[in-house]
């Protein structure tokens, strides 16, 4: 098998002309996107437009049908190498990319601390003690030092999502993906989660955020991407919120703002 050569682009993550169909429906119709180190990319657009699928391709939770996914100029899709080390390559990619889900996806049978430390002992091979200390520090970072022994069911939605953020951060990711992190939250709890995310952005974390929170997009986004109908309909700096060039973007923004 010949190795796929990639010319260095300097991007941390790159999607190159990715396509994805579910059954007969093509949800991603050729998208190319680069995420540079330290950049905060916000993806927005109507439901069913392919935002989440696009985000999930970045850590290959969703495998494209065609195109290319590169991280630090190394291709992870098409799968490099033979079928035997495919799984370990995937693990390698994912352990460098943190992901936060709309519905938190905390492990209900484990405490907040165990939720955070699981991958530390399992993937990073830290000792129990080191993992515990690291997990405690990460939970303290999101303001939950008082809640480490609580089970997810004993926490509010906002607290659960902050545990989920801590779980992702504990792996020292180079990139954080957020898949509508506040969409499942009560309005009064959204602020605490956005607060943690903004702090993370200020500290220089590279982030890709799928969100409907246009206020957050305006404050944090460096590069805003409007995804609709499986393609990037418009992309640019914050100015596209105020002065969208495309009719579709304008119509969407009029509806949500």
């Amino acid at each position: 098998m010949t190795a796929v050569s990639v010319s260095p682009t300097g991007a941390l993550l790159e999607l190159r002309d990715v396509h994805k169909s579910f059954g007969h429906i093509e949800v991603i119709k050729g998208v190319s996107l680069k995420v540079s180190k330290g950049e905060h990319v916000v993806i927005f657009g109507p439901s069913g437009g392919g935002k989440s699928t696009l985000l999930r391709m970045m850590n290959l939770l969703e495998v494209p049908d065609s195109g290319m996914v590169c991280f630090e100029d190394r291709p992870y899709f098409p799968h490099p190498g033979n079928i035997l080390d495919r799984a370990s390559k995937l693990q390698q990619l994912r352990s460098q990319i943190g992901m936060v889900f709309q519905r938190f996806n905390l492990y209900p049978h484990l405490t907040a601390l165990q939720n955070v430390s699981l991958a530390l002992t399992d993937v990073k091979k830290l000792s129990r003690k080191a993992a515990r200390e690291k997990a405690e520090a990460c939970l303290a970072d999101v303001g939950l030092q008082e809640r480490i022994e609580h089970y997810p069911a004993q926490l509010s939605g906002g607290q659960q999502q902050r545990v989920a953020i801590a779980r992702a951060l504990a792996m020292d990711p180079k990139l954080m993906l957020f898949d509508e992190p506040t969409s499942a939250l009560d309005p009064e709890l959204i602020g605490e989660v956005l607060g943690v995310m903004e702090k993370l952005a200020r500290e220089g974390m590279t982030m890709v955020v799928v969100t409907h929170e246009m206020g957050f997009a305006k404050r944090v986004g460096d590069y805003l991407v409007f995804v609709s109908g499986g393609v990037i309909a418009e992309a640019g700096g914050r100015e596209i919120l105020a002065h969208p060039q495309q009719e579709r973007t304008k119509a969407f923004l009029d509806a949500v703002l």
Partner: protein, 246 residues
């Protein structure tokens, strides 16, 4: 009208139960041995079949489906006789009665258990495995650390039901000469002509065994579900917010 509870004026002789207690006890031991060994094999094989049944590759999936449908359709008594008398005759391989009985019960219960495993595993949100894999866990580790511990809680009660079932079905292997509880009572009956007393004793023993398993299962269930209980008690946040918004 007066109900005559003993119209034949039958003279009970419960002392035969005491007299044959060692026989019955030996029968219970063999019953438990057959049931537990078969259950252990069935639990392992059943999980394997369940995983094949959920495979993304359709020929594997349909093969597992076929296994499940076939082994659930055969009456255990027919299967036991076929295996012990039929298969040995054709293959020339002399399988011991115990082995033969255990093979039959294991194969059949694996089919039932496979569907239980599948329902338990499918009840776990897909996001659980995704979250685990997004932090770099392998597919296998995501299964053993995140999915299985949650599925296990769901399947404890139906697994216990199947253990009860296998104990009762183990009474069928008496037909191939294994002296388990049922056959021991039968032999004792043929010697004493006391079917009522001895079969009553056998039934009581089966009931006690079943109750013991039920107790054990509810203990395991409670222990495993401690944190999930908290979850069911909590009112979902969205419900309260809808109320205040209205």
């Amino acid at each position: 009208m007066r109900v005559d509870w003993n119209p034949t004026n039958y003279q009970f002789a419960w002392e035969v139960v005491a007299e044959y207690r060692v026989w019955l006890f030996e029968g219970v031991l063999l019953t438990l041995k057959i049931a537990l060994v078969s259950m252990a094999f069935a639990m392992v094989l059943g999980l394997f079949v369940a995983l094949l049944r959920m495979s993304p590759i359709w020929p594997i999936r349909s093969l597992a489906s076929l296994y499940i449908s076939i082994f659930r359709a055969i009456p255990p008594l027919v299967f036991i006789l076929w295996m012990y008398y039929g298969v040995t005759l054709v293959t020339g391989v002399n399988i011991e009665a115990f082995t033969s009985g255990v093979i039959c019960l294991s194969l059949q219960y694996a089919a039932w258990l496979a569907e239980i495993y599948r329902s338990g595993l499918q009840a776990i949100d897909k996001g659980q495995g995704e979250a685990a894999m997004s932090t770099g866990l392998s597919r296998t580790r995501a299964f053993t650390r995140v999915i299985w511990p949650q599925a296990w809680r769901i399947i404890i009660p139906p697994i216990a039901n199947n253990l009860v079932g296998i104990i009762k079905d183990s009474s069928l292997v008496g037909v191939i000469g294994l002296n388990e509880l049922m056959r021991q009572s039968q032999i004792a009956t043929s010697l004493t002509f006391r079917p009522f007393e001895l079969y009553t004793a056998a039934m009581v023993i089966y009931i006690v065994l079943t109750l013991a398993i039920a107790r054990m299962a509810s203990f395991l269930e409670q222990r495993a579900a401690r944190s999930l209980k908290v979850q069911t008690r909590r009112v979902p946040a969205t419900a309260s917010s809808i109320r205040t918004a209205a």
